[in-house]
């Protein structure tokens, strides 16, 4: 594997990691708010805050890691995306900032403040919607270069069916991933009331997830036929994704194996996400940036990969420790610690 493909693969892994952990976090915020509004708060919010408290900051780091790595490996992305995305990027940033700090404010400061929780919940849906537009833009057709300037065609983005189908997919995926994870977490905590509510959420959002994926495919066909053809060549990835989805849904319907169900959901998104990513290559931003033309110099590429491997040696055991203490420690999950 060439260094640039290795680089984009590593980054894609981190984006995938962010997709999973951030979805859990974003969706949980929405469910927590929904729980308060529908007076089911006592049932589910305990489970949610137990999981989220120790890990929210880690979630944010996945994202920072991705974009810093992207600019490192592919400096041209800074130029094109940076110029084009000043406004949408800033809006996403402000939403992220509000979300992170309001989580802390509401969780450590004033627990009963409805406004804090509302902002926390609402941003949980708005952020995936706004971040997903970066992927939409990467398909090409929303930027143009004129007179040495990169111009963002906002009007086109807002009227594109493809763009909206991606937004819909992002939101329902967030809710689905989150609901399945929280179902599992409630089950671990032996919190049957919460389990009942969360399982219904999971089932409710499973259908829309698949529908939204199909919608994205359909609109991609007309927006970027070339990418669509590439995706068809990788049909087996998407097939595996669907099989994993079906298995997860089956487990949840039967009300057993919630842990496996969540792992299946992770695989469902893994195959879909990597299928999407692989068929997107060689472009990072169609047609301006491809992995080979925008790749940083070899020396830096090797240095980054070395740093990355050294970093993993440090991070993986730490993450395992974190998960053992908070995710897989039955007493903690049950609220006894």
């Amino acid at each position: 594997m060439s260094l640039e493909v290795l680089g984009i693969t590593v980054l894609w892994f981190f984006l995938y990691g962010y997709l999973i952990v951030a979805s859990i976090d974003f969706g949980a915020g929405f469910f927590a708010y929904y729980g308060r509004v529908t007076k089911k708060e006592h049932l589910i919010n305990h489970v949610i805050s137990r999981y989220l408290s120790p890990v929210w900051e880690v979630t944010n780091v996945f994202f920072v890691f991705f974009f810093v790595g992207l600019v490192g490996f592919f400096p041209d992305t800074a130029y094109y995306y940076g110029t084009a995305l000043l406004i949408p990027g800033s809006i996403s940033l402000i939403l992220l900032a509000i979300r992170g700090s309001f989580y802390a404010f509401s969780n450590y400061g004033s627990k009963d403040n409805d406004l804090y929780l509302f902002l926390y919940g609402a941003t949980g849906l708005l952020i995936p919607a706004s971040l997903s537009t970066a992927l939409t833009i990467s398909e090409g057709g929303f930027l143009k270069e004129e007179g040495g300037r990169v111009v963002f065609l906002a009007g086109k983005l807002f009227t594109s069916p493809y763009s909206w189908s991606v937004v819909v997919l992002a939101i329902v995926s967030v809710l689905f991933i989150s609901a399945v994870f929280l179902t599992y977490y409630a089950w671990r905590a032996r919190d049957l009331d919460a389990l009942g509510v969360l399982r219904k959420f999971a089932l409710f959002w499973s259908g829309p997830t698949i529908l939204a994926s199909l919608l994205v495919f359909a609109s991609l066909k007309s927006h970027n036929p070339h990418h669509f053809e590439n995706a068809l060549d990788l049909w087996w990835m998407f097939g595996l994704s669907f099989i994993c989805f079906a298995a997860a849904a089956l487990f949840i319907i039967q009300g057993r194996n919630y842990g496996t169900a969540f792992i299946m959901v992770m695989f469902q998104f893994f195959f879909a996400f990597f299928g999407y990513g692989a068929s997107h290559l060689p472009y990072i931003l169609d047609p301006y940036i491809s992995v080979s033309t925008s790749y940083t110099n070899d020396t830096m590429g090797r240095a980054l990969v070395t740093a990355f491997i050294a970093g993993l040696v440090l991070l993986v055991p730490s993450l395992i420790l974190l998960m053992r203490l908070f995710l897989f420690d039955a007493d903690y999950v049950k609220g006894k610690k």
Binding site: Y80, G82, L86, I87, Y103, G148, T299, L325
Partner: protein
């Protein structure tokens, strides 16, 4: 007045950094203080210090959250506002930026663990051990990010061939001449600022009439740590002067209004300057600038005359420099004063006058951080990458920077106000004594 894209981008970057830097400094310094307090508490089996660590950590969760989100903002804003600069610099200096995220990752993981495992270990020392990776992570984070700023001041590790960058050496770029003095200075002042802010809070509580054992111990600990870090900061300042004189003489010359290259250069304190560069009302210490720059009164200090007008930094940074150094000395005197009075018999270190000075130390040290940062950045003007790219060449070509500025202004006002409200609420009705009863003594009843 019509502001250009460059002006607006500079304003937005300054605002984000100016806001973030407060929380970043606290984020680097406070874990050290928490760790020291917990260590003393465990060693001496002293529940006051254990409580101190807990209360500091509780407040820290709020500031760290704001630090994380504003750090994310500046991280992305660099690409959004300075895309051309990032495209070039990214080829040479992205290694430490990348490593910074690892350090931050490491810190985030252990901070999450630390904050939620106070009572989970049989041996309390295990919990204390978790503070070490937090400190390593946050200080390493500061180190890596400062190497990037150092690189902007003294870039090396690449060659320009036509428009292309060749012979890139990431490690040489990272360990450039500015790295040692800058990272040293950033770390010591972060620790110092954290000690002074925490001391300031303790002094405030005592002045409000709550003068218990907890507050006294907090004052002693923060002032002792403050003195050590203040002396470290003085050493760092000295190292910085020597570095500047050797590698970035125009910055030192602008800081010190030193126009002519000559040996035996005087150190100027305070004073004002007019449009003809006439200095009035300054205190002159003969030969001192030479001494600080080169350890000898005869050392030749390069003056601004060796630089063309258009690459000289603005001269007003001298005022910032004076204030920053003044606050540094103030912190040495106040913390040393407290420690001396405390050691002397029949002396009261808790007298109102001294407490007021300690109270002032917190806000003043934050001010010094801001001043120091502004003078470091403005002192590099007109360059964004000294000798290679000017600020105006690195800026975005996008419109709407002004609108973006206003959006972020709103965000920072909101976050700043709420941080204060939440922190005040968190502690106002929970004096340390009462919490001590609850936590350590309540269960035995």
């Amino acid at each position: 007045m019509e502001l250009s894209s460059v002006d607006l981008s500079r304003m937005l970057t300054s605002m984000t950094l100016g806001f973030h830097i407060i929380f970043a400094t606290i984020g680097v310094g406070v874990p050290v203080m928490i760790s020291i307090a917990e260590w003393i508490g465990i060693r001496n089996n002293d529940e006051y210090y254990l409580l101190m660590a807990r209360r500091w950590a509780r407040g820290f969760t709020i500031t760290v959250a704001v630090g994380v989100v504003t750090g994310t903002c500046i991280g992305l804003q660099l690409s959004l506002l300075w895309p051309s600069f990032m495209k070039v610099a990214g080829q040479v200096i992205s290694l430490p930026l990348f490593m910074e995220t690892f350090a931050f990752f490491f810190e985030a993981i252990f901070l999450g663990i630390y904050l939620y495992t106070w009572d989970r270990f049989k041996k309390p020392i295990y919990h204390w051990l978790l503070s070490i990776p937090v400190i390593i992570g946050s200080s390493a984070s500061a180190f890596f990010i400062t190497t990037v700023n150092a690189f902007m001041n003294t870039p090396q590790g690449f060659k320009l061939d036509g428009g292309a960058l060749v012979e890139i050496e990431p490690l040489t770029a990272m360990f450039n001449p500015a790295t040692p003095s800058k990272t040293f200075h950033v770390l010591t002042t972060s620790y110092l600022t954290a000690a002074l802010i925490l001391g300031s809070i303790a002094a405030f509580t005592v002045l409000k009439g709550r003068n218990g054992v907890y507050e006294r111990k907090a004052l002693k600990l923060t002032m002792a740590a403050g003195l050590v870090f203040a002396l470290g900061t003085a050493v760092a300042g000295d190292v910085s002067a020597k570095f500047l004189s050797k590698h970035q003489p125009e910055k030192l010359a602008a800081l010190e209004w030193h126009f002519e290259t000559k040996p035996g250069a005087d150190l100027l304190l305070f004073g004002t300057i007019d449009e003809n560069n006439e200095v009035t009302k300054a205190i002159k210490i003969p030969g001192m600038l030479s001494f600080l720059a080169g350890s000898s009164l005869d050392h030749e200090v390069v003056g601004l005359d060796e630089f063309p007008e258009e690459v000289r930094p603005p001269l007003w940074i001298h005022y910032l420099f004076d204030m920053m150094v003044g606050i540094g000395f103030f912190s040495i005197i106040v913390s040393a004063g407290f420690i001396i009075l405390d050691k002397m018999k029949n002396r009261n270190p808790y007298n109102k006058g001294l407490l007021w000075l300690i109270l002032a130390g917190g806000p003043l040290s934050i001010l010094a951080i801001e001043l120091g940062w502004i003078l470091a950045e403005v002192g590099r003007q007109p360059w964004i990458l000294r000798g290679y790219i000017k600020v105006a060449e690195g800026v975005t070509s996008a419109d709407n920077v002004g609108l973006t500025f206003l959006m972020f202004l709103g965000l920072y006002i909101l976050l700043g106000v709420l941080t204060i409200i939440v922190l005040v609420k968190m502690f106002r009705n929970k004096p340390a004594e009462a919490e001590l009863e609850d936590r350590f003594r309540g269960s035995s009843k």
